[in-house]
Symmetry: C2
Subunit: 124 residues, 2 copies
DNA sequence: CCGTATCCGTACGGATACTG
DNA sequence: CAGTATCCGTACGGATACGG
């Protein structure tokens, strides 16, 4: 565990932090969900469906493309057409989403109850 | 405008967004993980283990207590002692964490490959 | 020990305008 | 249509100091 005296104890963070950062950053979840549910989407479709500005949408899509979660296909036409679809790697997240969905259905009410019952500080 | 046939009124965002915000906000995942793995922890233990400043730690713990994910127990001693433990509701997230862990083990290498192979913009 | 109070820097998202 | 460029406001986290 800790090595010889003097050395700082190693702080081992939870192993899922990388995935969390990868998948649950802002907008990534809605984007993945939309592509998963509605299939291939064009840029403007995502823009309108999610209500996100083009700058941010581009940032997220580039990031997700780099990480291999989505596939971008450019069609050199006039006007240009770009398709975004979820990759196989992205689809492999399905069990995660399923677990999350199930948890929501079962336990989200409990959260609401807890919030209602909570009388301490931090009122939002 | 909205007269696109077929799709009536509702543009439904992904249903897991609330949970994501709840569980995967900054620091909440490491906190939950630590309490899940190492059991009950004192304030200063979490502070040191996670390397988080007391202000932020308090914010997160209050929020998670309000949401019913952790249980705070105050022992009026000198010096005072406060225990934080994961609640039953928090424990119910275990399947989610399990799915995430499994995905990490299986598919995180693919992400690294994708990043290495990616030659476009956005180099981080 | 367990927080709270205060200041501060920045990263991030939103809005707008413009280009190919 | 599919972005890029620019400006801007703020929410958030880190650092420090202090209090019960």
């Amino acid at each position: 565990m800790t090595t010889t005296a003097g050395a700082t104890t190693d702080v081992r963070p939870c192993p899922i932090s990388p995935v969390v950062e990868l998948v649950f950053s802002r907008w990534t979840t809605p984007i993945l969900w939309t592509l998963h549910e509605h299939g291939t989407q064009r840029f403007v479709e995502l823009e309108r469906t999610l209500g996100v500005t083009p700058k941010v949408l581009t940032q997220r899509l580039r990031q997700m493309e780099r990480d291999g979660l989505v596939v971008r296909t450019y069609h050199p036409e006039i006007p240009p057409r770009v398709q975004y679809e979820i990759s196989e790697l992205g689809e492999s997240l399905a069990p995660v989403f399923a677990a999350l969905t199930q948890w929501s259905e079962r336990h989200l009410p409990s959260v609401r109850e807890a919030r209602a019952a909570y009388s301490g500080p931090l009122p939002r």
